[in-house]
Point group: C2
Chain length 167, copies 2
């Protein structure tokens, strides 16, 4: 939410890459434009998997069309770490729409969201909030995700190892 | 590492805010300049606590001067989620210097680091990597951190509540 070009291009690209790396299927960037879409899609092409980028649909429409649960990450919401069980219970088995904002988030988002969740109550970063939220909600399960068709990094304690995967 | 002005100002500011929010005492931003220093310090002033920003010291000097353990976060390193016990064991009770890079990290960092650790092997974000690393290493303990002297956000499920704390 609230992406502005060109100010937010790098921040929003990170939001997109985090969403993909931690298991999201798609990102909506209202008002995002072509450059941001391309820069995320370039990574998808190189590193594999399917991940969609929509920069056309407006925020309200995305929320209205969404069937499932709508989770808004904000430093003002209830604490993730102490309400993880409730969040898990209320979102399990449902399609999850996670909202993060690049700037002041309009009031209607707080009202439309099923849950307003804080990853810490100190200012930090929507990128960090999204990452920790997805890490905790999946209980680290994203680590085992597969991204077919792309380059693959093999974890190693002191070497860079990259292999080319084939489909 | 590798901060470039003005390209990285917002990204590096997020790195600084994440470091502070999750419990670091200080950030070194080699080549950071005055603007980035000010923009982080403004948040420290408003939201309290003590957090230092050094933009003068060079990376090699920071690492050489550091007494304790040096942890380099990179998508090529060994997996955080499966080596958390070892990382905890090797860093417990020691001052921790955590390194994240804004761009291609020079080879000497891999060699000087005590541990090269990956938070996922897909490209995502140094901001996300730092946040998840600190969250996991402290086992969520950062949530209870106190930042004396600043404004305080009170977590709430559908209201923004901010109170002014006094020392």
């Amino acid at each position: 939410l609230g992406h502005r070009t060109p100010r937010d291009v790098r921040i929003t690209t990170h939001v997109g890459l985090v969403a993909r790396a931690f298991g999201a299927r798609k990102i909506y960037i209202p008002g995002g434009g072509k450059n941001i879409k391309k820069s995320i899609e370039r990574v998808v092409e190189r590193f594999g998997g399917a991940f969609e980028v929509d920069t056309e649909m407006k925020a309200r429409a995305v929320i209205r069309k969404h069937k499932g649960v709508c989770l808004h990450l904000t430093m003002y919401g209830e604490k993730l770490h102490s309400s993880l069980d409730e969040i898990t219970e209320r979102s399990e088995g449902k399609d999850k729409l996670v909202i993060v904002g690049a700037e002041k988030v309009p009031r209607y988002i707080y009202d439309l969201a099923d849950l307003n969740i804080s990853v810490g109550n100190q200012p930090h970063s929507e990128i960090a909030a999204l990452a920790i939220f997805m890490d905790r909600l999946t209980n680290g399960g994203w680590v085992e995700l597969d991204f077919p068709g792309g380059m693959k990094v093999v974890p190693h304690r002191d070497r860079k190892i990259v292999v080319k995967k084939t489909l």
